[in-house]
Amino acid sequence: MTILFIGMFLLGGLFLDTAILPQLAILGLVPDVLVCITISFALLYGSTIGASVGVAGGLMLDVMCGPALGFYGLIYLLLGLGAGLMDQRRVNKYLLPSVAAVLAVIAKAAFHIVYLALQGYGEGSFAVFLRYILPGALLSGLIMVPLHLLIRTRKIFKSLKRSKMQNYYE
């Protein structure tokens, strides 16, 4: 897996999240593409890659519009780490990515609520959670299906290429 491949996804996710999707939002609802990318890499390649992808994407988001450097870096690191630790054998592998994405968006919202509450701005958080976060999380779960397939196809393609090469040398 190349850094270029990951970088391409992260930049795409960053531009989608900050420049494109906020303007196309219907009823204020937007999927969280960077969270989906982090979760997808974590599920496919494990917690180390997941956490690395998460921290890289999160720090880029921090530079562009985060409230403090490290805020999104920390959230995405923990999300990548957590998703990578999920035992995929115990959960339906077709359902897992979407469920993980929904849970991750909810967990991210929980970080926001705690961060704001610690600063004394927690009022109205629950209403925001119900109005925007839950439907947005479901939307992220839907987006996760094609996105995960795209990232997974590349993994399958790579492993096929590797086995072909091995057969050739044998």
Partner: protein
């Protein structure tokens, strides 16, 4: 030891990120790596932001009222004309917005402004922050006020080389000292988490109980809050609440600025008397 290495790295990474978060929490000048990264991303983001804005407008026009025409040729011509019309409409709108900004600028002859375009927005409903395409290269610094032709937008919270982050007045963390235009009484305007589809509102706080305040009253900046000059329009009162226990009055304010359609803003970089200093 080798087995615990990933755990150790994670703990260190979490620690470093938490420390970074604590250090970089307030308004500040962006560090060199942040500034460079932002300078690379901002033009690309602005490109995508503008393109998406045009596409969104196109679909809005399309669903606003289109008629079915069978002839393929006619459809093609209409599509071409619509694209041209959309481009002209976009230019006309931009022209109008910039003219309004110029008129606003003329009202405040003593202030120095820098015009900027919005290049990206914070995703999600928690923080009302956006990025603009001017930074320290145009003299933009932290805490400088940001306005548009309608009134106060927010303030700069971080300035990079060619970009800056702006926290709007509707962000829940924002607070500005303000003045009731009619009653000449000071208060604080605070942002509020927007939990419904209604237009965003702010809260006006710490007003004496006997304050003469009615819906429709204008709220302006008091000149006591950081770099905000006195007399910039913040919004108007839409609802007044009396709190007899605290002996205070609070009010909901409708900001003068429509944040949903905001595209160009101006940063107040100083006063003209300061030019020489």
């Amino acid at each position: 030891m080798r087995k615990n290495r990933p755990l150790l790295i994670t703990i260190i990474a979490v620690f470093v990120l938490v420390v970074l978060m604590v250090i970089t929490g307030g308004a500040r000048e962006a560090s060199t790596p942040e500034s460079v990264t932002g300078s690379i991303f901002t033009p690309v983001q602005r490109f995508f932001y503008d393109i998406t804005g045009s596409i969104a407008d196109f679909f809005n026009n399309l669903f606003g009222g289109g008629e079915d025409v069978d002839a393929a040729e006619l459809e093609r011509t209409i599509a071409q004309l619509e694209t041209e019309l959309m481009r002209l409409d976009e230019l006309e709108q931009e022209n109008k917005r910039l003219r309004e900004l110029l008129e606003y600028k003329d009202q405040y002859n003593d202030l120095l402004f820098v015009t900027a375009h919005i290049s990206s927005k914070e995703p999600g409903p928690w923080f009302e922050v956006f990025t603009i395409n001017v930074g320290r290269n145009y003299g933009v610094k932290e805490n400088m006020p940001v306005v548009c032709s309608k009134g106060v937008v927010g303030r700069v919270i971080e300035a990079g080389g060619t970009w800056a982050k702006v926290m709007t007045i509707i962000d829940t963390r924002s607070s500005i000292s303000c003045l009731l235009d009619r009653a000449r009484i000071y208060g604080i305007t605070k942002g509020k988490l927007q939990s419904d589809d209604a237009a965003p509102v702010c809260t006006l706080m710490y007003l004496p109980y006997e304050t003469d305040l009615v819906p429709g009253d204008n709220i302006v900046t008091s000149g006591l809050s950081g770099d905000f000059p006195k007399g910039l329009l913040i919004g108007s009162v839409i609802e007044v609440t009396k709190n007899s226990e605290k002996g205070q009055k609070t009010a909901l304010i409708k900001p003068a600025v429509d944040f949903a359609t905001l595209e160009e803003v101006m940063v107040v970089i100083g006063e003209k008397e300061d030019e020489g200093s």
